[in-house]
Every structure is written in C-alpha cells, then in structure tokens.
C-alpha cells in the first residue's frame, strides 16, 4: 500500500504516489533555481509544467490512474534536467532554497505548566529537563525564576497548529512534513 498525493499542474489534477511526488517536487525546485535569474522564469516554469501534464495525460488517459515514480522519471528524462537544458553550458550553482529556522513556541504536547521549558528545549535542541531544573532552582533565588517564567508564559505563543509545531522543531513547513506530523499523531 502506498500513500498518494494530489497535485495540480496547469489547472488539472493528478494523483501521484508519494515517492513520485517527491521526485517531481525536487525536479521542479531544481528548475526553479536554474531559471531564478531569468526574466521569464514564471512563464517558462508554467510552460514546462503544462508540458509535463501533457505527458501524464498521454500515458495515463484513464481516470483514476495513479502516477508512479517510473512515470515521473520517464517524463523528467524527456523534459531534461537543468544540466541537460544547459547543454554543456555552465549551470549556475543551485543554492539551498530556504533554510528552515526555528521559532520559540510553548510546547503544548509536552508540558508541565505552560510548556515554556519544553518549548525552550525544542528551540535550543536541549533536554527540557535542564530548563526545568534551572527554573526550579532559581525560584529559591529570590523568586526571579518565577517572574521570568510568568513573563515567558504570557509572551511566548503556544504551538497549536501543525505549522507552528514544525516551526518549533525547526522543520520545514512542507506538505510532506505536515503529512508526517499527522501520521505521528495517530
């Protein structure tokens, strides 16, 4: 059994197996960074997308046919990778698209009080217990810890949505990761 994802290409919807989706997504991202400097970038990409859709139509005319990795590989071979398209010309080095970054949230999935320590643990990638101990010790230090904790509880937003939870752990907000975190919940 394989999970499928539905994508829209040129206004038509196609159902892809998960690995096929990853491959196509990666391919389109490569093209996007290859044409990044081109004035006609959007137009070129949408032309290419609609041609890819044509190829999918040819091979899977019957409705309900799921597109697999082999089919995506075949179409990428026909369309060509950025280095095929450059055809011997220098390919500008593709830079990493967007680095994921962490945001400080209160972790509502693993909390003792307000999830402040747990959230800080996610942010710095440290065991939350460490912050909990520090806060407890600092309470006896003239109650400063208590005040700081209260301020953080008020100021730091809770991670409620899936997007926020991904940002809290520094994972990229992609359809794939959102899917993953849903699976983990089950």
């Amino acid at each position: 059994m394989k999970k499928t994802l539905t994508v829209s290409l040129n206004g038509r919807s196609y159902e892809l197996e998960e690995d096929a989706f990853k491959m196509l997504d990666e391919y389109l991202k490569q093209l996007e960074s290859y044409f990044a400097e081109d004035a006609g970038k959007q137009e070129i990409l949408s032309d290419i997308e609609s041609r890819i859709a044509d190829h999918f139509d040819e091979s899977s005319r019957v409705r309900g046919v799921v597109i697999g990795a082999d089919e995506v590989r075949r179409v990428i071979e026909i369309m060509g990778t950025p280095s095929d398209i450059a055809d011997g010309e220098k390919v500008p080095k593709a830079e990493k698209p967007h680095r994921s970054y962490r945001k400080l949230y209160r972790n509502m999935d693993d909390k003792v009080l307000g999830g402040v320590c747990s959230g800080m643990g996610c942010y710095w990638n440290v065991e939350p217990l460490l912050f909990r101990i520090i806060f407890i010790i600092s309470i006896f230090w003239g109650g400063l810890g208590l005040l700081v904790y209260a301020i953080l509880w008020i100021a730091v937003p809770p991670a409620l949505t899936t997007t926020q939870k991904l940002e809290m752990r520094g994972e990229e907000v992609t359809a794939e990761n959102i899917g993953k975190s849903f699976e983990n919940k089950k």
């Binding site: 032309d47 060509g80 011997g88 010309e89």
Partner: protein
C-alpha cells in the same frame, strides 16, 4: 568531449534560427515545434525550447494567442511577428554567409 561541447554551442545558436524558421511557415503550438525540432535532432530534451520561446517572445520576435485544443485546456499558439520576420531574414543572410565562409576555408 571538446567536440561535444562545440556541437552543443552550435546547436544552441542555430536552434533560435530553426524556431523562427518553423514559425515562418505557419503558426504552431509548442508541441508541434517540439515534434519538428526533435525529428530534426535539433533538441534532445524538451525543456530546452521553453526558455528560448519566452525570450524570443519578450524580444517581440514572436507572439502567441490561446487556442482551444481538442482535448485538455487551451494552449499557446505561437506566430511570428513582423519584427521576427525581419530578424529571421537577417539570420538567414548571416547563416548563408557563414556557410560560405566555412566551406571556403575547409576546401
């Protein structure tokens, strides 16, 4: 490898001339252009065509209109503009000159 590289560079330059030549014989969908250019072995991968089409359109050498197709959504139907026609004539002239020069030097 060096020969391959030189061939690739030549193909690229000549490809522009070929696109305009095909369109000078009549308007065409991108898919028609691809079929013709592939048959002539002018392009290997289809992705090569689209950046060129967009660039030539932005230069005003060709234009397109959306045409309904028998199946699927409307497609871009390309045609040569007057500017494109003049440009193509210019390219043809320099192509002929080049061929003549090269032939003279080779023989």
């Amino acid at each position: 490898m060096e020969v391959e590289n030189a061939k690739a560079q030549m193909r690229k330059g000549i490809l522009e001339l070929c696109i305009l030549s095909v369109l000078s014989k009549g308007d065409a969908y991108a898919n028609d252009l691809i079929t013709k250019l592939k048959e002539a072995k002018m392009i290997v991968v289809e992705g090569t065509l689209y950046p060129l089409l967009t660039r030539q359109k932005n230069l005003g050498l060709l234009s397109y209109r959306w045409e309904e197709s028998p199946q699927g959504p409307p497609r871009k139907y390309y045609s040569l503009t007057d500017k494109g026609r003049t440009y193509l004539n210019e390219l043809h002239r320099s192509w002929d000159e080049l061929v003549e020069t090269v032939n003279t030097l080779r023989n």
